[in-house]
């Protein structure tokens, strides 16, 4: 599973979701590609991020499974991710 995370420096919601995502990454093994809407313009265009940031695009074998936009709670995010694929917990 791979998650493409599209943010912007100027977006408060992205800053809030950075914390949420970092907490999730502490618990689960998820390959993440971080993109900035202004810095990685060409790359971002490929994913057609839409009008609301941040965007989390979940892929499995290059197939888009899910798109999560805006601010959501950590538990809700985990629930949504578990709904489309298996999450591997990290060995602590």
């Amino acid at each position: 599973m791979k998650v493409v995370k599209i943010n912007a420096i100027w977006c408060s919601g992205c800053l809030i979701m950075n914390k949420v995502w970092n907490n999730i990454l502490k618990k689960y093994d998820i390959e993440t590609i971080e993109l900035d809407i202004d810095m990685d313009e060409e790359e971002v265009e490929k994913y057609n991020p839409g009008k609301i940031l941040p965007v989390f695009i979940v892929f499995n074998d290059d197939k888009e499974l899910l798109r999560i936009t805006g601010e959501i709670k950590e538990e809700e995010m985990i629930k949504k991710l578990k709904g489309v694929c298996e999450l591997h917990e990290k060995d602590i």
Binding site: W10, I52, L53, E71
Partner: protein, 403 residues
């Protein structure tokens, strides 16, 4: 039997006199201009009270086309030490009420009630002025003194704060609440976050503080200048009903837009700002902040703050306009207008200040949840709808005069 009959007859004659003994006959002099819209409005109002107060005689004197009446008004103004002649001018007893706007009608009625009461002194000043035997003197018991006292009576004792005037409290609350709601509007916040991200990269704390503060102070000043300009216009035009109604319609439209945003944007998060505009601003920020000369960097950031705030003001969807209208219809003095505007701007900038100060101390950008933006749309929408409806139907409820 004859005695009882006589008693009834005497009682029937005397009773009405004792009950209505207070209602002395009084005169209201109205100096008006033919074609003056405020005068027309007042005439409509006077028609309604003419029926209500049978002891009231209304004497109307046209001054724009009638020289005799005009010089009489001049004399009246001189007697009351008033320099500027204006219409409508009302004189009841020794009270002069100039202009006609929100609250004038109720003041005229209070004056009528005051002079109708036989316990209060009634001198027909205009009659005296015409006959050259009147001189205005300040008295201990007068309608004006009573009005001043009732202004003082709208205050309450609050522990620690002491004596607090309710009118001031209401406008203070309005400044804090509307300013706060307006502040959570994300339009200008994204530029500040852009700026902070670049400033943090500079690693020069003094420069960071100076440029950041320059941006915030300039934003505040631009907002303040625009609001004060609106107030000065609003004060002049607020008595024109149709202009007040236009402001009310702006408030209603703003309210609907805000509520629509709350209900349609179920996803909290940041709306992507127009690509071209965003890139231009980003380039400018990078250019100005990387300038070797501090002065050029400072001027650049100030210029940026001016342009961003001028453009983003439209994004507030009328909240500052509604607040300035509140100040205008409450007829507060110039100093207080500035104070309330400053208070509004402090609360408008409070979220930006928090983000900036945290970033400067921790060297990390902190975001304020976009969920607050969402609820600011809900609150802003409700506040604007209420004010819009009241401006049209019950403007006196927004005057916080508690009388």
């Amino acid at each position: 039997m004859k005695r009882i009959f006589s008693f009834i007859i005497i009682f029937l004659f005397i009773f009405p006199l004792t009950v209505f003994a207070e209602d002395r006959n009084i005169k209201l002099y109205l100096y008006y201009g033919d074609g003056c819209p405020h005068c027309e409005e007042e005439m409509k109002f006077l028609k309604t009270i003419e029926k209500k107060y049978s002891n009231l005689e209304i004497i109307k004197k046209e001054v724009w086309y009638n020289d005799a009446n005009s010089s009489e008004l001049q004399k009246v103004n001189e007697a009351f030490s008033i320099n500027r002649i204006g219409v409508p001018t009302n004189v009841i007893g020794e009270t002069i009420i100039r202009g006609y706007g929100n609250g004038t009608g109720s003041k005229i009625e209070r004056a009528i009630k005051y002079y109708s009461n036989s316990e209060n002194e009634y001198i027909d000043a205009v009659d005296g002025i015409i006959n050259d035997n009147y001189k205005y003197e300040e008295k201990e018991n007068s309608f004006e003194k009573k009005e001043e006292e009732s202004d003082e009576n709208v205050s309450i004792d609050v522990p620690i704060a002491g004596n607090v005037n309710l009118k001031n409290v209401s406008l203070t609350t309005a400044a804090v609440v509307i300013g706060l709601i307006d502040g959570f509007n994300p339009c200008a916040m994204w530029v500040l976050l852009f700026l902070i991200s670049v400033l943090i990269g500079m690693k020069n704390k003094k420069r960071m503080w100076a440029l950041g503060i320059a941006f915030l102070v300039t934003s505040a000043l631009v907002y303040m200048c625009i609001m004060l300009a609106w107030i000065s216009i609003a004060v002049k035009i607020t008595t024109v009903i149709w202009i007040r109604n236009i402001i009310a319609v702006v408030a209603l439209i703003g309210g609907v837009i805000n509520l629509r945003s709350f209900f349609t944007h179920q996803d909290s998060g940041c709306e992507v700002v127009d690509d071209k505009k965003r890139k231009t601003i980003f380039k400018k920020i990078k250019k100005f902040t990387s300038e070797k000369s501090f002065i050029i960097a400072l001027v650049g950031v100030i210029g940026l703050a001016i342009s961003v705030n001028m453009v983003e003001l439209a994004c507030s969807a009328g909240l500052p306009l509604v607040f300035t209208e509140l100040l205008a219809i409450n007829n507060v003095n110039t100093f207080m207008k500035i104070m309330y505007t400053v208070l509004y701007i402090i609360f408008f900038l409070i979220d930006d200040l928090i983000v900036f100060i945290i970033a400067m101390f921790t060297m990390k950008i902190t975001g304020i949840s976009t969920k607050y933006n969402k609820y600011s749309h809900l609150l802003g929408g409700v506040v604007m709808l209420i004010i819009g409806i009241l401006l049209i139907l019950k403007p006196e409820w927004l005057m916080f005069n508690f009388k």
